[in-house]
């Protein structure tokens, strides 16, 4: 399964990629912001892990853009961010995010969320 990891912090990208590798997901591509990620996105991407606050294009803007594409309607999107207020979470869900993790995350939380979301990647049956 190919993961697209998006974060403007190189530290966070490295930690996320390492964490994914540790649970068996070794096929990853990285982007530093939503704009770069959108250029990298294609139908081979099966799972997206994205930050919210990024220059050029935020995680929610990227999510909305992906959801408008025929090949992006069903891909699972996990947001990993510091934004923890209720309104932010609702806004992320409205944009099309499927699940949400607060920073700093634990490897256990990341693993659990990905396992919860993997059926979406297979069935394409996202929550509305």
């Amino acid at each position: 399964m190919k993961f697209l990891v998006i974060d403007d912090s190189i530290t966070m990208r490295r930690i996320l990629v390492n964490s994914l590798q540790r649970i068996g997901h070794t096929d990853t591509v990285e982007a530093a912001d939503g704009q770069e990620a959108l250029a990298l996105f294609d139908s081979s991407i099966q799972f997206i892990v994205t930050d919210w606050n990024m220059p050029n294009m935020t995680g929610t803007e990227f999510t909305r853009a992906v959801r408008l594409r025929p090949d992006g309607k069903e891909v699972p999107i996990l947001m990993v961010t510091t934004r923890s207020v209720r309104e932010d979470i609702l806004a992320a869900l409205k944009a099309g995010v499927d699940n949400y993790i607060l920073k700093p995350f634990t490897p256990t939380t990341l693993k659990e969320k990905i396992e919860q979301m993997l059926p979406l990647a297979v069935s394409g049956d996202r929550a509305p």
Partner: protein, 222 residues
Amino acid sequence: MTLLASELLFESEAALRMVDSAIGELQPGVSDAGAHDESTEESPIAASAGVPSGLLRAHGEIEGMLEQVRASRDVLTHAPATRMSLLQSKLLEVSTVSEDATTDILDALDQALAIVDQLDVLAASEGSSTRADDLRKTLRDELFRMMQPLQFQDITTQQLAYASSVIMQMEDRLTNLVSLFDPTVRSLPAVSPPSMGRAFDPNAASSTAADQARVDEQLRTR
């Protein structure tokens, strides 16, 4: 200076200038109190003919107040701006140093994990005891566990970027305030260093397990 204080001073100064200007216009031969022409200006006594003495007193008091504020112009222009610029540079330095240090630690951890991988390969080809296998697994877990707290670097960088943006806003406010007394201030060369260039969450903070549980509950009940 707090934002509220600077706004108050800004608005008070603007009000004083309007009143002063209005009083100035009452004086014959003086159309702009802020742009006196010494060659054509009438003497204050001559100019005051017909103007009520109360207004003249107010005019004098306002002029005195304006002079006091103008006297502190250099302090407002240079001292805080220089300090803020220095502070912003320090924030940028802290952020850069912490990012470099974090990258170095991650590099070292990656190298250590690669060595454990090599030990696994050796063990597979040359044989290994269960104890050695357990130790390698424990070492790998520990190295990975050490990586996780480095997420602090992203969070503190966002906090520093927010502090930096507040400093830049204060500098702008000060420049606006100073330009009331001296319009040429706007043309002064910028003293601010480049911004930190990071997108940030102004409320960025390290979350806890309870915070994540609250988010999960919100996701369940959406």
